[in-house]
Amino acid sequence: MKAEPQLALELAGIKMNSPLMAASGCYGYGFEYAGWIDLRDWGAIVLQGTTLEPRQGNPPPRLAETPSGMLNAVGLQNPGIDYFLREVRPRLGELGCPVIANIAGESVEQYRELAAILDGVGEICAVEINISCPNVRCGGISFGRDPAVVERLVSAVRRVYRGPVIVKLSLEAGDLAAVGRAAESAGADVLSLINTLKGMVIDTACRRPFLGNVTGGLSGPAIRPVAVRAVWEMAGAVAIPLIGMGGITTLDDALQFILAGATAVAIGTANFLNPHVARDIKTGLRRYLDREGLHHYSELIGAAGSALHRR
């Protein structure tokens, strides 16, 4: 009998049953879907962003639909790290899959403090450093542009957090490869890319910006080709594994990211269309591997000819 193709992996020590991850900010704390969706369909879930203090978030409207995409301007609404530890942490074990925290701060010190608090928290298997949120005034993307700042920030987190450190990047970083290399040399274990792209919609009837925050982050299939290109380029620039994301909706989309050099892929917006997207892509990926005579999906990582080999 032929062996079933394998999807399991270890991503910087995180044991995942598949390379499919729920993207931060699109999946709450996981509980929102838990009553309905078998969360074991996910290799890991990245929780919504957490800050030191509670954040109210941006005024509505926070959503605008765009061609094959959407803008969001949530602005990191979250109840803060104390609430997280007290109310969310004890229930994370119920989710049944690895859980990654996403942290955001307004200074290097705040990122360091959050990472120090989460160090040793057993329910969390890694932290993802968000230095790419387009929707917050201080923090977020302003840290992700300058390789020197990225290096300082990632080093600070690295010194206090013993588990895997993932750095989430944005295309808004002018020289993406330089930012990626800075994160790598500061001790990042994994890079995830891309975060949403800053955009805006104008309400022509009112002659005003549509979103309460004026601008928002673009996600969905509209950004996919840009994201695939970013992963491809980053694969040629760093040696650490990549989590690719940006508009993944179908198996073919996920394959593009893997072929471009991503070890894992994250799915965000597509959950809103198809809450079973993880199950569907996972099933499709197994069938694809079987059909192609491959034993493990990792045979496809960077197989598109890849910047990896030209490095």
């Binding site: 309905w36 978030g57 995409g69 969001n72």
Partner: protein, 267 residues
Amino acid sequence: MDRDNKLEHRCLLLENREVVPGWHLLELQAPDLVHASPGQFVQLRVGRLTDPLLRRPVSIHYAEPEKGRIRLLFRVAGRGTALVSGFKAGDNVDLLGPLGRGFPCLDEEEPAIFVAGGIGLAPLFFAAAQRSRVSLPFEFFLGGKSGSLLPPEGYFQAHGIKPRLVTDDGSRGGSGPVTALLEEYLETNKAPLRIHACGPGPMLAGVVELARSAGAAVHVSLESRMACGVGACLGCVYPFRSGDQVEYRRVCREGPVFNGEEVLFES
């Protein structure tokens, strides 16, 4: 994991009827959704492609458990709803639900008051029909732009609802805002009351104000653009009073029905 609790349902469309110009009534075979509470909604997938991308939240307008059917009533407001208005009997409609929290205390003995503005009647119709079925007392106040833009009386009477109507142009019922009907009623009826309202923001703000002066409990069903519909994306929030702070709550999860006293309506 309770896998019996399904989120996504493919439902056969039995009928798509334009009730009044721009308002469509979908009748669906949806046995898993018939036990929804009035005020709950579904997230309707507009198409198989990705443009338009997002599902559309639609109130459950009526449920018939004996037949395994539900009805959805919506107004064509943009590209998404225009596409849905073209769905044909025999199509399969992809719904997530039932979602959100509905109107509370619908089974209490004291009279309930429903105040609907335009298409806001969609979830209130379901709530009133439920009370009518078990012979609980209620009043149904309905306001609209013009008589021809509101369903005919028979539409309501078949379900034991006799709405008192007003229209902006006075073409049916009296003329004026629906809040005037409520105001008049509250002046002559002093019993402890519960009001349920759905409609445009300014109307809801007016209803809450009247309820406050009358000392009546008031629940409002809010409308918002949504992405996930289940509370994960924090996209559909509305501002609320929480002590002396403003707090954003999720219309899809904590709502869409809220205690009207706590909502911060735009002034």
